[in-house]
């Protein structure tokens, strides 16, 4: 009885300690985790791959350091693909902290990729910065993208050449850790295809939009980042490219952390059933 009671009510700090040991072990000595690319990640990759040199897309980057583990890998993999395809991109955000963080990651990728000719800010990419109030921001982008971006310092920049309407952009990709994508579903009016890179916790809510065709592609959490890195490695196998980063890096610690969770749930439930049976028999 005492054995099952102990299992039923394990001190959470013991579980945290086991988690820390497992994760630390797998960070220092990771195992190779096999990967099967999800169809939604493949769809996102294929769509971006179909873009042509000089096309312009809009990236709304709404993630900050609080979800860096998942969003950073997705974001950097996307930027790598865009740079290799020489697709131009404009960054916006509805989180005041996000533009600075996105800029740092773009600069890191540009340094690692070293595109030739170089990616010039204002010509090949631009940061339009922070927009408050997601509803009004998306509405402004949909109804008058030129004035909206011009008002944020992009007036006269070469990247704005030919951009008069949102439909002049080949895609809108939302890299987000919040519900900001909902506003795009509601207000896009079919002007541009939408792609989503989100945290795993948002997957269940947003997969139906991929199934219905409202999203052209979807990259989910660290697993999605790993998918994207795998696809980059298949498409660009040259050793000069950095393809794998945090997506693959976090897979083996995540595998063991999830294993611990599954075992804990099973042990807790078995202990509960056994205790209930014993209590019933005692009465």
């Amino acid at each position: 009885m005492k054995f099952w009671q102990t299992l039923y009510a394990i001190d959470r700090r013991v579980l945290y300690l086991i988690l820390i040991i497992l994760v630390s072990w797998q960070i220092l000595q990771p195992i190779t985790v096999p990967n099967v690319v999800l169809p939604m990640s493949q769809a996102m990759f294929d769509k971006v791959e179909s873009l042509k040199d000089g096309d312009v897309i809009l990236i709304e980057s709404d993630w900050t350091t609080s979800t860096q583990g998942e969003s950073e890998g997705q974001f950097k993999a996307l930027i790598r693909q865009l740079v290799r395809k020489r697709v131009k991109f404009i960054l916006t955000a509805i989180d005041p902290l996000a533009p600075g963080i996105a800029r740092l990651r773009v600069d890191q990728v540009l340094k690692e990729e070293a595109p030739d000719p170089p990616y010039v800010e204002g010509t090949d990419w631009a940061v339009a910065g922070y927009f408050p109030n997601a509803e009004n921001y998306v509405l402004a982008m949909v109804t008058n993208v030129k004035d909206t971006l011009d008002g944020k310092g992009l007036a006269g920049r070469p990247i704005m050449k030919g951009i008069k309407d949102l439909s002049d952009m080949k895609a809108v990709i939302n890299v987000t850790a919040s519900a900001s994508i909902n506003v795009w579903y509601e207000r896009i009016r079919g002007k541009a295809p939408i792609g989503l890179m989100c945290t795993a916790v948002m997957a269940g809510e947003n997969i139906p939009y991929f199934a219905s065709g409202q999203l052209f592609g979807m990259v989910i959490g660290a697993k999605g980042a790993f998918d994207y890195e795998d696809l980059l490695a298949q498409k660009y196998p040259d050793e000069k490219y950095v393809n794998y980063q945090s997506g693959r890096r976090y897979m083996s610690p995540l595998f063991f952390a999830l294993l611990l969770l599954i075992v804990s749930v099973i042990v807790g439930n078995v202990a509960m059933v056994v205790l209930r049976k014993k209590e019933g028999a005692a009465q």
Partner: protein
């Protein structure tokens, strides 16, 4: 006063000019403290936040307050520098013609927005709190007016997507590259599961009358079970997100700070 305000002109921290620095140097190469010390401080703050896992303590509170203060301060600055200054202040006061740029006349009608916005601060007054409802009412009115279109764009494609064919026209296995109009048996089964799930889950929410009919009762019960499966999925993906956040911080401490292994 105007000259003073012009001197106080904020620099756009999201623009390339700030990051390149006034003298053209790379701002990444310039840090207040040595990079190693900066990483050590970040590691200390990370450990401070995770100390909550053991128990509530003063170190956690201290680090939490630093984070909240930094985020709030930065947000206020960003709202002024990124929104109010370029989109409200500049159009209102206009701009003198400098560096070959044409002069822009000010549109002082924008000033009318200030008192409306300031009314929101009456929320702190017990006597005149009702004034704060005016700007809130304007925002709600603008938002409500958009909701018909928003619902149409978001929900109708979802409803339309539940009308799916459930009878296969080929018995081959599902092929991602199959031509349009070909419905394989596994895909038809997927569609059937989706349509059936949609109907039984919807039947669970029929609260307008007592569910006496056996068919409705069984359907609602099945719907409830399927909802539980959905909640299980949400729980699982939530845990995935939380674990990855922890793994990211653990990687930072072990590899980037303590350098216990090579970056991978």
């Amino acid at each position: 006063m105007m000259q003073y305000l012009a001197q106080m002109q904020p620099k756009n921290v999201f623009g390339s000019e700030w990051w390149k620095g006034d003298q053209g140097y790379d701002r990444y190469s310039w840090m207040i403290v040595h990079p190693a010390l900066a990483i050590a401080i970040a590691a200390f703050l990370t450990i401070g936040l995770y100390s909550l896992l053991y128990k509530e303590n003063k170190l956690y509170r201290f680090v939490e307050h630093i984070f909240v203060g930094l985020a709030a301060g930065y947000s206020i600055y960003a709202i002024w520098a990124e929104v109010l200054y370029p989109l409200w202040w500049n159009p209102m006061v206009g701009q003198a013609g400098v560096n070959g740029m044409p002069m822009e006349l000010g549109h002082w009608a924008w000033a009318a927005l200030l008192p409306v916005g300031v009314l929101a601060f009456f929320v702190f007054s017990t006597k005149n709190a009702w004034l704060s409802r005016i700007p809130i009412g304007i925002i709600i009115g603008l938002w409500s007016g958009q909701q018909f279109g928003a619902f149409y764009s978001r929900a109708l494609p979802q409803i339309a997507d539940t009308a799916r064919p459930i009878i296969p026209n080929t018995w081959s296995l599902a092929d991602r590259n199959a031509p349009a109009g070909v419905l394989s048996a596994p895909q038809a089964l997927n569609n059937l599961i989706l349509v059936a799930t949609f109907i039984v889950v919807l039947s669970y929410f029929l609260y307008s009358f007592e569910q006496k009919n056996k068919i409705i009762q069984n359907s609602a019960r099945t719907g409830r079970w399927l909802l539980m499966v959905g909640f299980g999925v949400i729980f699982g993906t939530t845990m995935m997100t939380r674990f990855v956040l922890f793994i990211d911080r653990a990687y930072f401490i072990l590899i980037e700070w303590l350098k216990l292994g090579p970056p991978n």
